[in-house]
């Protein structure tokens, strides 16, 4: 059930260069699945009429708290970064479908870039009984986030930076190539900038799911502003990233 709730800021801290993690607490949280997202109303800015979408990558249903992470981009994220403990924000959630369910025994590979690693963290947390691997890319060591958590949750965690300042040097797909034979995943879940996602083409013989970003309005599937071209058996269709996604099959997004 989609609800619009008031949350209190419990913590709002830097977790990497220009990237914040905000812990939010409410009275009664609805169930939220890995890969689902929320739309946050920017407080005290009536001029910003669109909510900002962020993935909910950590859910504590006992404490009724969630975590979202955000990179500083423009007006909205700047405003969020100034929020103090106790401040209130209005959040619409849970939105989208999240990642598909994986059977026990299947090996999961998480491929992520930048803040796109965050939704993958919730996948790792949801499949403690599966073998989970990850290959995560960042520009440099200052932008690395959640490395310890991924190391703790994954059988093997590989890191890539463009300049080699943390983990291996190179882009995610390049670094991953060196490890693919050891991992042999049954399914790949990916989230990150579009070029990074596209570069996973060489692995897409393995069922690969990508979580997409698109500029959004309502977040619930009604306004049709968040379209993404998806190839289905009967041709191309403009599907809604918010409602039909944000997770899609790689082959349906990056074809031709």
């Amino acid at each position: 059930m989609i609800v619009d709730l008031i949350f209190q800021v419990e913590e709002n801290k830097l977790i990497a260069s220009s990237t914040y993690e905000m812990t939010l607490k409410t009275e009664k949280l609805p169930p939220i699945k890995a890969g689902q997202f929320a739309e946050v109303k920017i407080p005290s800015r009536e001029d910003l009429i669109l909510r900002r979408p962020f993935c909910v990558y950590s859910v504590d249903s006992e404490k009724n708290s969630i975590k979202i992470g955000y990179a500083l981009r423009g007006k909205g994220t700047k405003e969020l970064s100034a929020l103090k403990v106790g401040d209130e924000v209005q959040v619409l959630l849970p939105l989208g479908n999240g990642f598909p369910a994986v059977e026990k025994g299947k090996k999961i590979l998480l491929a992520g870039g930048g803040v796109g690693v965050l939704p993958l963290l919730s996948v790792a947390e949801s499949y403690l009984d599966n073998e989970v691997y990850c290959c995560l890319g960042f520009k440099d060591k200052n932008l690395v986030m959640k490395a310890d958590e991924f190391k703790r949750l994954c059988k093997k965690a590989v890191f890539a930076t463009d300049d080699g300042s943390f983990g291996e040097k190179g882009f995610v797909a390049e670094v991953l190539e060196r490890h693919m034979d050891d991992i042999k995943p049954d399914v790949i879940f990916a989230c990150g900038p579009e070029p990074m996602l596209k570069s996973l083409k060489k692995f897409s013989a393995v069922p690969t799911y990508v979580s997409l970003e698109q500029r959004m309005g309502c977040g619930i599937g009604a306004c049709l502003v968040c379209a993404c071209k998806i190839k289905k058996a009967d041709g191309e269709h403009n599907l809604r990233v918010c409602k039909d996604g944000p997770v899609f099959l790689f082959d349906e997004v990056f074809y031709g």
């Binding site: 306004c223 049709l224 379209a227």
Partner: protein, 301 residues
């Protein structure tokens, strides 16, 4: 509780708050949020004769107190609409308005004919700025407003509302043309043609370059246009443009609107409409007004 009922060219609305076309889909997405029967009505997403995929993304841009969109009438076509979408939404006790579109006058007529008497009202959208043919092209010159209204009217088995574009020389002329063409009511405003630019990438934000502006940023324009039209037409007016609160509804009614539509507010807050209806009721109580109809056109100038 005040009497919120309004009558627009013979159609009784439980309250004057109607969802604006394109911001409420075919209602399905909102039914899990709240009981749609609380709404005065729903103007459903614009439909065309054939299925349309709409424009490329990016389709939305935030602007100060507003938003631009360039969806481009993405819809499954009238046949799918009649078979799947309309029957589903009909289970709710609220008035339904079909928003019709076409590339040619013949297409508008064909869509109206297929609708038969299946909806409470037909809204002729001759004001969409986001399509290459048809759309706003029919709505700019008063002569073409007159012509298309005249052509479509005989095919309508439900009252015909002509939705006017604000991107015109003199809105009064267009309103009068719609009235002369046989419109039972007029609705205004559709979005204001505009664009957004990203100085950093040196590109337009919207893939389609230009789009339609809506939200509080357009409210002063919309109020003025409703006010102007009210002074010249004798058919009812459905007002819209930037309504976010119950008091906004009252402002439009004071300027002459018999009912209103709420668009962008649904996008920034999917629970907006039940709230707006509650606020409107509170406003009337505070103002000691027991019949909302007594607001219509009663601006004290």
């Amino acid at each position: 509780m005040a009497d919120l009922k309004v009558n627009v060219c013979g159609v009784e609305f439980e309250n004057p708050v109607i969802a604006a076309s394109g911001t409420f889909g075919f209602g399905k997405e909102f039914e899990e949020l709240y009981d749609l029967s609380v709404l005065g009505g729903i103007s459903l997403k614009g439909v065309t004769l054939e299925r349309r995929e709409g424009n490329a993304s990016v389709r939305i841009a935030e602007t100060p107190c507003g938003m631009l969109n360039s969806v481009g009438l993405q819809n499954p076509g009238i046949d799918h609409f009649m078979k799947e979408d309309l029957p589903h939404i009909k289970r709710y006790d609220t008035k339904l308005i079909a928003n019709i579109n076409g590339n040619t006058a013949e297409e508008y007529c064909a869509v109206a004919e297929k609708l038969g008497d299946s909806v409470d009202m037909i809204e002729l959208n001759i004001s969409c700025p986001n399509v290459k043919c048809g759309g706003m092209a029919f709505g700019i010159r008063p002569e073409s407003v007159l012509e298309i209204t005249k052509k479509v009217k005989p095919f309508c088995k439900s009252p015909l509302v002509v939705k006017l574009s604000p991107n015109v020389a003199d809105i009064k002329e267009n309103a009068l043309a719609a009235q002369e063409g046989g419109a039972d009511a007029i609705a205004l405003i559709n979005t204001v043609y505009g664009m957004a630019v990203d100085a950093r990438t040196m590109r337009p934000v919207l893939a389609n370059v230009k789009g339609g502006l809506s939200g509080p940023a357009v409210k002063p324009i919309a109020l003025r246009m409703v006010y102007d039209c009210y002074s010249v037409v004798n058919i009812p007016i459905i007002g819209m443009g930037g309504i976010m609160t119950g008091e906004d509804v009252a402002e439009f009614m004071l300027c002459g609107a018999s009912a209103v539509q709420v668009g962008a507010a649904n996008i920034s807050d999917p629970f907006a409409m039940p709230r707006i209806i509650r606020e409107l009721d509170n406003y009337l109580t505070e103002m000691k007004i027991d019949d909302i109809k007594s607001l219509i056109g009663k601006l004290r100038v």
